[in-house]
Symmetry: C2
Subunit: 242 residues, 2 copies
């Protein structure tokens, strides 16, 4: 993987200007010279090849030469709505969902937890998506939506073919199914899915019952107790490798 730089609003033939930390990285860390060819991405699914034209103290001018479509995106359009964990675990969650090829992350608002997800938090998560994308070579940015309840998500986005709520308690109370049972029931491989993961302590009975009322399958990820981010990464892996 060669060095990649993030720059919004790229287009072939249009000049590109790196500033701030990206310019420092290319200029001072990578010691770029005029004429060097590097790769840029804007998160739109294309990788741009660009030539360094001029290097100033805090700004590097590049000429976009051409672009290549990134065909490594998974076939499944997967939205993961996960109650945001705390501390370090946020960064891990975002990094891993980005690497796995999840299309959109929504901080899930739930009854058992009241984590404040304001614009500052969203901005940090978006920055983490860019960092993870630079390193894993993904050219489409995972979208970070504002925090929403299940009901709001359903109202705000086009319906997914598959809507799943993961509930770790294997008591069968809500007719939970295993992933193998769920997958065996698919008439064909779904093109889009929305998967919900609850907070520490899980969803409330009320939340699960409402999903059951909406005819959502309730997925049981097994007898182990997973942390929030573990359940999210595990579920994303299963759906993306259907």
């Amino acid at each position: 993987m060669s060095e990649r730089f993030y720059l919004p609003d790229l287009a072939p033939g249009r000049p590109a200007v790196l500033t701030g930390p990206e310019a420092a990285h290319l200029g001072r860390v990578m010691r770029a010279k005029v004429g060097d060819v590097v790769y840029l991405f804007s998160g739109d699914g294309w990788e741009y090849r660009a030539r360094v034209e001029a290097i100033a103290h805090s700004k590097i001018d590049l000429a976009v030469l051409d672009r290549q479509h990134d065909d490594r995106e998974p076939d499944l359009d997967l939205t993961m709505a996960v109650a945001l964990p705390k501390g370090d675990r946020q960064k891990w969650l975002i990094e891993k969902l980005t690497e796995l090829g999840v299309r959109r992350y929504i901080p899930l608002s739930v009854q058992r937890e009241d984590i404040k997800v304001d614009d500052k938090v969203l901005e940090r998560l978006r920055r983490q998506v860019i960092e993870a994308s630079k390193q894993c070579g993904r050219c489409r940015l995972m979208e970070i939506a504002p925090a929403m309840t299940r009901e709001k998500i359903v109202a705000a986005f086009p319906p997914a073919e598959l809507n799943i709520l993961c509930h770790p308690i294997s008591d069968g109370q809500f007719g939970q199914v295993s992933f193998a049972q769920l997958a065996a029931g698919f008439p064909s491989v779904p093109k889009s899915a929305l998967v919900l993961i609850g907070p520490v302590g899980g969803f409330t009975d009320d939340e699960v019952r409402r999903a059951v009322d909406d005819r959502w399958p309730i997925l049981d990820l097994g007898r182990q107790v997973y942390r929030v981010e573990t359940a999210a990464i595990c579920a994303a892996s299963l759906f993306l490798h259907l």
Copy 2:
């Protein structure tokens, strides 16, 4: 999940003595009193109920009351042989494999990397398994084996029903199969599996070719570029939820 304490060599009716950090945790952090009932585990698959009998400065005596078998272990006996990543990612890998219910972790020795995995490193990994087990409620410790090559693993352990080498390059050169293709070919759900994940940069052609010669299926985890620990967690999730 109530508070759990790790203590090797437990048995019903035998006295149990907590010392060191575990005693400090129960005595000073949890402010235990004589007569309190707590849970202990020794990593043997049982959870022990014990009553505090005496509290001294750096030592707590307990009486083991009874024990209950932990039936949350996955059905699949899964060994993950993964080239050990660096820094923080080691801890993360061990924590997640422990949570997911992997039976054994082997630091995989590979041609492209020469990370020193000495007794000190193994001791640290084992301590991380205990910490992760305390938190996720697992009562059987994931085994940490010394570093080995693929050939040594095959010689050292009883053969698994399924031997898989994951190779991220989707060039079809080695007849790679997707997980869906692999799973479709199982005559029945396997009881044991050994899954190998390579280092940054992947396995060498030589390493892959030798596995092909041994008739190992080569698993392609998709078009995305996964970090070592991401590939390991993803593959473990897939096999454990077959």
